[in-house]
Amino acid sequence: MTTEAPAVGSEAPEVLVSVRGLKKHFPVTKGALRRKVGSVRAVDGVSFDIERGHTLGLVGESGSGKSTIGRTLLRLEKPTDGTVVFDGGDLAGLSSAALRKVRPRMQMVFQDPHACLNPRMTVSSIIGEPLVEHLSMSSRERNERVEELLGLVGLNPEHANRYPHEFSGGQRQRIGIARAIALNPDLIVCDEPIAALDVSIQAQVVNLMEELQDLLGLTYLFISHDLGMVRHIADRVAVMYLGRIMELADVDDLYEHPLHPYTRALQSSAPVPDPATEATREKIVLEGDIPSPSSPPPGCVFSTRCPEAVDRCRSEVPVWREVAPGHGVACHLVD
């Protein structure tokens, strides 16, 4: 595209999504009366911005709340607390009718391309469904649009009348992407979009997502546990642990100068596909398991596994601080 130069000196880039103090707690119930006995704090006070046309990578282990953030952002889950401002409007307070008007502008690509496509629908009706729901198109216009979308994601438009089982995993993920871009959305939440794909297919799908981002000006929230791929695709990266963001920074800054002990441990745990590096690099192996989000530890949630934890970490919740422009961290030990 033509507008490649970053807006240095000019106005700050436009913020498309602004999340403040987002919380999502799921009740834990017991007995026949479904008495509430506790809550799972899946997301517990999270704030970040995503700039238009950029990609925010969200990394963390299972149970860290990354998928819940994605779903809450799209109001697939109602937040317990906090605000999600999308292009200037707060989604939290919207009625379902008003929400329906915003929905076409925010879409989702799911992890498992086998589970997210209806096996009894043809590809053309899967991709055409959002067009039927949200636009009044003649069936001819719709078919043309479906063909155009198939072309955009690199599938043969002649295969529009086939069923999902006739496609491989990578091709199915392309169908899911075509459905997501059908209504020209601004934001796409990609929840582990390549985790279920073979290595040789992952690169194909990531390349496609980057091409579409350039072509259509898409904004991505890219949720993944693959640190290498996040480094490749994201502009900024948030590291999550047990429902909280531990560190958030520009991608190079985060990978070159990680400040939070958890970020460092996570990076160190990811195997490097190079025997020479693997033989020499120092590894930080964390002990123990992630605590349950229904009873997070007091103080810093990472304190039970942190190799550097001091007494203060176990009693006092670290506040979020911006230690350098655009680089935030929640840790007592970072100056």
Binding site: G170, S200, A203, M229, H232, S269, P271, P275, A276
Partner: protein, 344 residues
């Protein structure tokens, strides 16, 4: 060549599945040796035949529809593929231990961890029950489970994924196996837990000296753990090399493509190199190179004949016509012109 006898020698293993949609050629003539104490990585995508190969060795594939059509697997003077079932049971879980991807489906949910370890000992090395309990405790300590006395009485659901995988490893090691086969044991685990298990396995291998076959799709895990790698594609081994050599000088176009497609610290803003096309349809009988439709260096011979795994150096084997007849295709970076490269 005065190499010691390998712990396991597999020759021409061929496994098929006869399904309603036709015959699936899952494993096509796989041959390899495993030395004592060696850690062998088996890398490939889903459907490449890596798991079926290892399951076939212990005849754990369901027959029918599966069928081990040919081959030999020599382990301690016996052929695993033809020996009697009673002998095979001695080997399974005894001299060859197994760990699978999902510990929750491999462990019995209604039997305590301690009893499951004792069960394995009862089958293979029965002694007094108190001695076996003591051995179970020792094993849990060995695999790094905290407060092992209490954990002996735990049920699998009371443990986390990483702890369950440690229990699986303890069961697999119960009878001091000569070979440990691990089928994607860390794929279902989080990355920090995976790091714990990898460290544990390295540590155990140094302590106990067993050979390990580690099946994975993760090229990063392979780089840090194994001595030698088999790369599988379309039910065949396409490359067999020491780990350093494979990453420094991959010879098969598939291996080259795989390594090139990984994102790196400097790949931002650039396109990832990708392997075009889709994985092969395993219902086609292997009469041509299964990678030919996706190969950037494909030429006529690839469509007509299936390349055999041949040595390009003392330690490195490749199944590719490019390495077979470098003269026909010119240099194109495929060969370096070393005299000892093609020794037939």
């Amino acid at each position: 060549m005065n190499r010691p006898t390998p712990a396991l020698r597999v020759t021409d293993l061929t496994t098929r599945f006869n399904t309603q949609d036709g015959t699936v050629h899952a494993v096509n003539g796989v041959s390899f040796d495993l030395a004592d104490g060696e850690v062998l990585g088996v890398v490939g995508e889903s459907g490449s035949g890596k798991s079926v190969t290892m399951m076939s060795l212990l005849r754990l594939i369901p027959t029918p529809p599966g069928e081990i059509a040919a081959g030999e697997a020599i382990f301690e003077d016996g052929d695993l593929l033809s020996m009697g079932l009673n002998d095979l049971r001695e080997v399974r879980g005894g001299k060859i231990g197994f760990i699978f991807q999902d510990p929750m489906t491999s462990l019995n949910p209604v039997v305590t961890v301690g009893d499951q370890i004792v069960e394995s000992l009862t089958v293979h090395q029965p002694t007094r029950r108190s001695e076996m309990r003591a051995r179970a405790l020792e094993l849990l300590q060995l695999v790094g489970i905290p407060s092992p006395e209490d954990r002996l009485r735990s049920y699998p659901h009371e443990l986390s994924g990483g702890m369950r995988q440690r229990v699986m490893i303890a069961i697999a090691l119960a009878c001091n196996p000569r070979i440990l086969v691990a089928d994607e044991p860390t794929t279902a685990l989080d990355v920090t837990i995976q790091a714990q298990i990898l460290e544990l396995v390295k540590d155990l291998r140094a302590k106990l000296g067993m050979a390990v076959i580690w099946i994975t799709h993760d090229l990063g895990v392979v780089a840090g753990l194994v001595d030698r790698v088999l790369v599988m594609y379309g039910g065949q081994i396409v490359e067999d090399a020491p780990v350093d050599e494979l990453y420094a000088d991959p010879r098969h176009p598939y291996t080259q493509g795989l390594l090139a497609s990984l994102p790196s610290a400097t790949s931002r803003g650039q396109k990832l190199v990708n392997i075009v096309g889709q994985p092969p349809d395993m219902r086609q009988s292997p009469t041509s190179c299964s990678f030919a439709p996706r190969c950037p260096h494909v030429f006529d011979r690839c469509h007509g004949e299936n390349p055999q795994l041949l040595a390009v150096s003392a330690t490195h084997k490749v199944a590719c016509w490019l390495d077979e007849v470098p003269v026909l295709v010119g240099t194109a970076g495929a060969t370096t012109g070393e005299g000892g490269d093609h020794d037939d």
